[in-house]
């Protein structure tokens, strides 16, 4: 009985401490996914959360400035101005009318400040009827 108690304690110590680490990691990296329309209805504390927003890059809206790239995301008839401030180069697939997923936080002035951008090509080669999708090339955030 005492032996089993020892094992029980050992196992609980490991599981509890790993669960604690998981909880820390969760707090550090949890990211909400919102659509552009949802983003405009958020208020209060939920505006300071880290989040991902998906949409289509408005044609002609990409402007490369020093230290950041500005563009406009469109979705469900609404638009969202975005400033990308990350250090990774933007993916090849990030072009006008591509689908993009931006990750970051909204700024008080209504712009969305993104640290990561993933982009998916507007699938030029999926026009074949019956053709399966191809893996979407996208940029990776680093490990």
């Amino acid at each position: 009985m005492q032996r089993q108690a020892k094992f029980g304690v050992g196992i609980s110590v490991i599981v509890v401490s790993l669960a604690f680490l998981a909880w820390l990691g969760y707090g550090e990296s949890k990211t909400y996914y919102h659509t552009i329309a949802e983003l405009q209805t958020l208020h209060g504390a939920s505006l300071s959360q880290r989040m991902r927003v998906g949409g289509t890059v408005e044609a002609g809206s990409i402007r490369r400035l020093s230290g950041r790239v500005d563009f406009v995301l469109q979705g469900e008839g609404r638009t969202l101005p975005v400033s990308y401030v990350g250090s990774e180069p933007l993916p090849d697939t990030f072009v006008d009318k591509s689908q993009a997923l931006v990750e970051g936080r909204p700024a008080p002035d209504g712009r969305f400040v993104a640290e990561h951008v993933q982009a998916k090509c507007a699938s030029k080669y999926e026009v074949a009827p019956g053709g399966g999708g191809a893996p979407a090339p996208s940029a990776q955030s680093s490990m």
């Binding site: 094992f7 196992i11 790993l18 680490l21 990211t31 080669y125 999926e126 399966g132 990776q140």
Partner: protein, 686 residues
């Protein structure tokens, strides 16, 4: 050929159904002819799947652009090598490829055991054909690769058309590793079907003893080996092709391949407790069940796009089929377990905290915790949406926070576990076995600390790596010393001889050594550096001891793409070292582009140069340079793991002959009795 292929698939489906139903009838009636005919239906199923796969491959090679799958994944200029790989580059083809690889395993099992294990094999056959029926259903009715290309005609009917050329293969996949990575990974995924079928079969048949474990050991190791190599090849592909400087991003599909590996690794270890001490029977059965479920889940995640990922194929309706199949397997496993659980009663109890058993127990526990963490992190967006309505995802920090300590604990157990005695280990043997390794580890740690190497996890990892290496070397050294005393051969020859006599034990040590190398490589990631810069002709980038000078550009038309190259001279401490050519490739067939990273790899570090594109602001090309220490150890470690797995799969050299030889030598030299009865001939599976 497309009609031929789809006909073969339909016939395969019919044969699989016959094999399944006939197999159940055979189990009920025990009629020998029925048993035989359902086995032969299983063999026919496999052969027909082979035919279908070859005919799809034939369509690729004959540039048949009337077939929708060929149009979507190939073009005339695609090289032969990639026409093979085009088979598994899309949804329909890779599901057929799944069936194909599964058939290779099923056929080998059916033929290898056709005259053996008569009580068990009908059950195994039924489970295997059940799995085949599921995949053949997908191949035939949900995602057929033999669909002809059609367009809506003037009167609304579909007209068959043929294209002049195809859309080409995704450029990300046009890389040599893409030809070998998926087959390896899929061989792992499909291979775990065999231990699953045996475990479920043995449970259903209440097959006595640990025989199913002995039977499946080889198959589990083969699947595990493929899975390991497949994961590493995938990591290497990501490293060399995606051009972001890393090899693992906790992407859902990467995670999906890691999950069955974690439970499979746990299973490989915990079976030893069942073989040696008759413990953990329930646990083992459920480990195999979960490994198989995770393999199906992994295939599901890759195919369905339920969690967005770099690799995942476009969203499709195939998900519902997989969820249904997972539910059926789970129900069957639960039912079989509830009905026959008395058959899995444990024969022994744990005796001591410091014993081989408890090290296996903790090894299993933390592998499982890691599996649960990775699984929940991967599926978090799905579940959070169900429960809270918010789609919340977790990122790299979550996975790293949990898995780095788990990795280090496992590394520790890798060193400790194999040297602990079964049941209970005495303090004396602890000192004898671990004294030197602990000293080595601590000294290495102190030296590293003195040289300002103070990142906590990396330092711990270094200490543990040295410790594990020392324990493994000591095992080889001690064994070899005893062998040498008998045979007089050199240490190296004795060590080889030792390994060949107990391949499982020493092959296992070699695998552990490979894992140590992988850990060293992973620890190096804490010291990665990178610089990105707009470049003009003649501008330089300085990173570590390297100076990179942009000399020129050129453009090189190839058969299937055009390559734009940067010509970069690399200098080390201002002495010319070599030239590197990072590339960007433009593929006209699908108007896509891809990067080719240039890597100068040494044991110490990788210089990783990416041509990151043109800066539209300055019109200058951008170069991104990474300096990643110790990455090569990971790939090298992978090779060692593969070698160790192969060694462990070899049959043991016959001990009887050796015993005779050894005692003669011992008698001739009149060695002390203690030496000649030393524990070199610990036969069997420890």
């Amino acid at each position: 050929m497309d009609v031929f292929g789809s006909f073969a698939l339909v016939l395969a489906f019919v044969c699989a159904v016959y094999s399944f139903v006939g197999g159940i009838a055979a189990i009920r009636t025990r009629h020998p002819l029925l048993i035989k005919s359902s086995r032969q239906a299983g063999i026919a199923t496999c052969s027909l799947i082979f035919l279908a796969t070859f005919s799809l491959e034939y369509l690729f090679f004959s540039d048949n652009f009337a077939n929708a799958y060929v149009v979507a994944h190939s073009n005339r200029d695609l090289s032969t090598f990639y026409k093979i790989a085009a088979l598994w580059s899309g949804q329909e083809g890779s599901l057929l490829f799944w069936s194909f690889l599964l058939s290779v395993y099923v056929l080998s099992v059916l033929i290898a055991y056709r005259h053996k294990n008569g009580e068990l094999m009908p059950y195994v056959g039924v489970v295997l054909s059940g799995v085949q029926i599921f995949f053949l259903t997908l191949n035939n009715f949900v995602a057929s690769p033999f669909k002809a290309l059609g367009v809506s005609g003037a009167n609304g009917a579909m007209d068959l058309v043929a294209r002049a050329d195809g859309n080409g293969l995704n450029p990300l996949l046009q890389y040599p590793e893409m030809v070998i990575h998926p087959p390896n990974l899929y061989s792992g995924y499909t291979g775990f079907t065999i231990p699953f079928a045996f475990a479920l079969g043995a449970l259903l048949a209440r097959y006595p003893g640990e025989k199913w474990i002995h039977l499946t050991r080889k198959w589990t190791m083969i699947a595990w080996g493929f899975q390991t190599v497949g994961i590493l090849l995938g990591a290497h592909w990501a490293y060399a092709v995606l051009g972001w400087g890393g090899y693992w991003a906790w992407d859902p599909v990467e995670n999906a391949s890691l999950l069955p590996w974690l439970t499979g690794t746990a299973f490989l270890h915990s079976v030893m407790m069942q073989e040696k001490r008759g413990m953990m029977k329930v646990w083992n059965v459920w480990l195999v069940f979960s490994t198989f479920l995770l393999c199906i889940l992994g295939t599901f995640l890759t195919r369905s796009g339920v969690v967005s990922s770099v690799h995942a194929f476009a969203s499709s309706n195939i998900g519902a089929w997989f969820v249904g199949f997972l539910a059926i397997i789970l129900l069957v496993c639960l039912a079989a377990y509830v009905k026959n659980r008395d058959y899995l009663k444990s024969e022994n109890q744990l005796d001591s905290m410091v014993s081989r058993e408890s090290s296996f127990l903790f090894n299993n526990l933390i592998l499982l915790v890691s599996c649960v963490a990775v699984l929940s992190g991967t599926l978090f967006p799905v579940f959070s949406e169900w429960f809270t309505g918010n789609r919340i995802s977790v990122g790299t920090p979550f996975f790293n926070k949990v898995n780095i300590p788990i990795g280090l604990l496992l590394l520790f157990l890798t060193g400790v576990g194999p040297l602990l005695a079964w049941r209970k280990t005495s303090l004396d043997s602890l000192k004898r076995n671990f004294g030197w390794p602990v000293v080595c580890g601590l000294v290495a740690g102190a030296v590293a600390f003195a040289f300002a190497f103070r990142e906590f996890y990396s330092l711990t990892c270094l200490i543990l790596c040295v410790f594990v290496t020392a324990t493994i070397s000591m095992e080889f050294y001690r064994g070899a010393k005893v062998m040498r005393a008998r045979s007089g051969a050199s240490y190296l020859a004795s060590a080889v001889d030792l390994t060949m006599r107990n391949t499982r034990r020493y092959g296992g040590y070699i695998v552990h050594m490979g894992m140590v190398l992988i850990f060293i490589g992973l620890a190096g990631a804490a010291f990665n550096r990178d610089i990105q810069k707009d470049m003009q002709l003649g501008s330089t980038i300085q990173i570590g001891p390297y100076t990179l000078l942009l000399q020129n550009f050129d453009s090189k038309p190839e058969k299937n793409y055009t390559a734009e190259r940067m010509i970069v001279e690399v200098m080390r401490n201002n002495k010319p070292l070599m030239m590197l050519y990072p590339e960007r490739r433009q593929f006209p067939a699908n108007q896509a582009s891809g990067t080719m990273v240039a890597i100068y790899s040494t044991l110490k570090e990788d210089l990783y140069v990416v041509y990151a594109g043109q800066s539209p602001e300055t019109q200058l090309p951008v170069m991104h340079v990474y300096l990643n220490p110790l990455v090569k150890c990971i790939w090298f470690g992978g090779v060692v793991v593969a070698l160790g797995t192969l060694v462990a799969l070899l049959p043991n050299r016959r001990a009887v002959l050796v015993l005779a030889g050894a005692s003669e030598v011992a008698a001739a030299k009149s060695l002390p009795v203690a030496l000649s009865s030393a524990p070199t001939l610990r036969e069997g599976h420890d």
